[in-house]
Subunit: 476 residues, 2 copies
């Protein structure tokens, strides 16, 4: 049977999660490989998800006063080198442009791996007085990092993202903006992507090159691995001092600005796949589904069926809706809707037509809902809303069921040997313990969550007095 | 007076059009220069115009079945070289990446100057059967061309654009898509940017590297120079043969696809400035104005004035509206609204408040319209609509008044010596005449318009029998 074949084409997630992931990316036609090693093609179904993420996140940004800009993709080498920690973090993984046209360049330039240095160079001239502050700018663009190992959506040499860069008069205002944007990301993940996240601060070992403090949202994938899903950095006045970004305050004194940056990337699409997907393929939260409703005519050659399918599509124009009027079998069409993660399928055949009804099928639960055609729009709206809500609840239940607590190293090691998930454990604050844990268990500190608990009084690694509760995990 | 100073800061357009243009770009805070030679920063006011162009044009694209994708920014050298004419056209002006991280690359890559070769490489695998056709893909991205001379919006080393790339089963379908997209561009320019354009075909001399036919829309700037504002190319099966892009047709025979590409860039913003601007600055068509209405309180310290201004703003929430509540003088605020091209200014002071009215001022005509507060929303909507319409009419009248006709070389030369604008004249079809005209008058063929006229029977240059009527002009 044709429809069987399509489903059998993907590996079961319990059998081989990594292969399942690759299969879904390919069969749902999200991405494809290219001749350029480590770079991918975003196919229509993949790019459309990014467009929906982009437009909804951008709306949230703008509510907080963010303005969009666009800066060059090239960074002269001397500019990249101005902030010491930053250049050490990024120089080993940038792509270098050495020739323009037929001539060698006087100074080589890298393709931006991130744009702190360009924004600093810009702000240096653009900011003169306290009246010019704050600057709350963001850009949507692609960046390049010359990674050795790549994986669709999670790590590629070129990826799409947004990067916000702000400048403020005071340290307090910068810290507030850093936290504000982390909250925007967390709310977006929960409300739009139906992905619950842990908010917290990164340890110094894991923070961004050049930052005073890095905050993160961490999500748990279906296989129990963590995914860093967005970060927000407070730079203090470090970059301002390296680049000389000063303003005259109300008392006419020169002051350094305080800066932040924050970013999310197309790896959010990887998170959607790995949090919500199942053995039939992708499951898309309705708010980021490029097609929310697929109308599938049954026995479409029978009189009136196709016309009715088009009529239903037209009535559902308030949603992102399509009709599958191809000459494939209904079984194949169902299976394809499932693979592509389309939230609601509307089945309409001759018998339904006669009875003035249709059948709605939810992608996540596969629940079949008989629906009078008189109530179609309302029922579809209700189903999508319910699905969006329940997907978040399910993801949260999964996350909570895979979050463990360890009081000492024995428990800690046992959990990471037997289970997959987050482990909450205490930490003394010493990087040596982080290094030792990574060495022994291949586990990293994901974050020091804002919501702290006193699980024990001593560090899970060295037994010295504990300072912080940390989420630990294996991560993508 | 503070407000005088702001206006005096820009050069008059009749005195020095090039300087006026640069002044407007700078004073309206659209773009700024960077440390990267030939690359610009799009500031919020400039980028917001591009966002409005992008979202409205994208909507028109999608109505015709276009799907968005994203392909890598790098092209391996061997890929760029596959189509002979294409590589000759672009190789001299690309930026080359030679190192990834600390290692030299095995094969150098250029930063895309345009993506025909990448799309071909992708289509080669993605297209197998007639069922996979047509492919109607587009991407919004930036491209790099290592230009020696750069000008804000008109020519820079990196610029933002969209590039559509399609593949079709037949030559006829490819030609239809080429023309269809040219029409989308032309309608967009007229309906959204209020810029009338001439649609036509480029001569072989002026066509795109690798194309069978290039179609163009040409607009006339205020100074009488032409601006190529969008192009659409029919590649026939040339790229398909170079890259081996074949599909099996319904009879199971292998066939080459037929391809098109089409693009518009941020130079459209340059066109808006140069078609509509005046000596007070930018004049934005309401449909692409990031702020359509600015409410300016007069004597804002008087009781109730600021509150009323905010109330009017809230009532006008169906438009892109702001209040200028800064502590600058009203005169300064008026002048700033004008510089930034804000279509409608709403003035509200204590006397207006008492009389339940306000004053609307149109940016383009400076017409003052007394408006009862009871009719505010309707009057603003009507004014914006009227302004959009009249801006197009005015631009068309200017274009028509600066379009001339020459029957012979003497008339032709006289026109280009004494006037600035388009000159319509006949051409024999021989490139030698185009070369001679360019050599003698620094004038290029802009296009062979779809609407042909028989101005004379002989070529304006050589006197041999004429084949085509051509629009000639000096161009940006």
């Amino acid at each position: 049977m044709a429809d069987k074949k399509l489903v059998e084409a993907i590996t079961s997630m319990d059998e081989d999660f990594a292969q399942w992931y690759t299969d879904v990316v390919k069969k749902a036609e999200l991405l494809d490989y290219t001749s350029v090693k480590g770079c991918m093609v975003f196919k229509p179904a993949g790019y459309a998800i990014w467009e929906l993420i982009q437009s909804q996140m951008d709306t949230e940004f703008k509510k907080t006063g963010v303005e969009n800009v666009y800066l060059p993709m090239f960074i002269p080498e001397s500019l990249l080198q101005k902030e010491k920690d930053h250049v050490e973090g990024f120089a080993p993984e940038v792509a270098w442009v050495t020739h323009g046209g037929l001539q060698p360049l006087q100074e080589r330039m890298c393709v931006r791996p991130t744009s702190e240095t360009l924004f600093c160079d810009f702000y240096k001239n653009d900011i003169q007085s306290y009246r010019d502050l704050p600057k709350v700018y963001n850009q949507w663009c692609s960046v390049v990092r010359w990674e050795k190992e790549t994986r669709p959506f999670l790590r590629s040499r070129e990826f799409l993202w947004q990067e916000g860069h702000t400048a403020h008069a005071t340290a307090k205002e910068a810290e507030e903006r850093t936290i504000q944007m982390l909250n925007v990301y967390a709310d977006f993940c929960e409300n739009v992507l139906a992905i619950p996240v842990i908010k917290g601060r990164k340890t110094d070992k894991e923070k961004f090159a050049g930052a005073e403090a890095t905050y993160t949202i961490e999500a748990l994938m279906h296989d129990g691995k963590a995914l860093q899903s967005g970060t927000s950095h407070n730079f203090g006045d470090g970059f301002a001092k390296a680049f000389g970004i000063q303003y005259t305050d109300k008392e006419n004194k020169l002051q350094y600005v305080h800066q932040t940056s924050w970013g999310t990337t197309t790896r959010l699409i990887g998170a959607i796949i790995m949090v919500h997907g199942d053995d039939s393929g992708l499951v898309l939260p309705p708010k980021v589904a490029p097609v929310q409703v697929m109308v599938v005519p049954i026995q479409q050659k029978k009189e009136g069926v196709l016309d009715k399918a088009y009529e239903l599509r037209d009535r559902l124009c308030g949603f992102r809706v399509k009709v599958d009027d191809s000459d494939k079998s209904p079984g194949w069409k169902f299976s394809e809707c499932e693979m592509r993660g389309i939230p609601v399928r509307v089945e309409i055949g001759p018998k339904d037509l006669a009875a003035n009804k249709c059948v709605l099928v939810r992608r996540d639960t596969r629940e079949k809902i008989e629906c009078s055609l008189d109530e179609l729009e309302a029922k579809v709206a209700e189903t999508l809303e319910k699905m969006q809500k329940e997907m978040l609840e399910r993801a949260r239940a999964h996350r909570d069921a895979h979050t463990y607590t360890a009081k000492n190293f024995e428990e800690f090691e046992k959990l990471f040997t037997e289970k997959a998930g987050f482990v909450k454990a205490m930490w003394c604050g010493d990087q040596a313990c982080e290094d030792a844990i990574k060495e022994k268990l291949a586990v990293t500190s994901r974050c020091m969550p804002f919501e702290q608990e006193q699980i024990a009084d001593t560090c899970v690694c060295c037994g010295k007095p504990a300072k912080k509760m940390v989420y630990w995990g294996r991560a993508y």
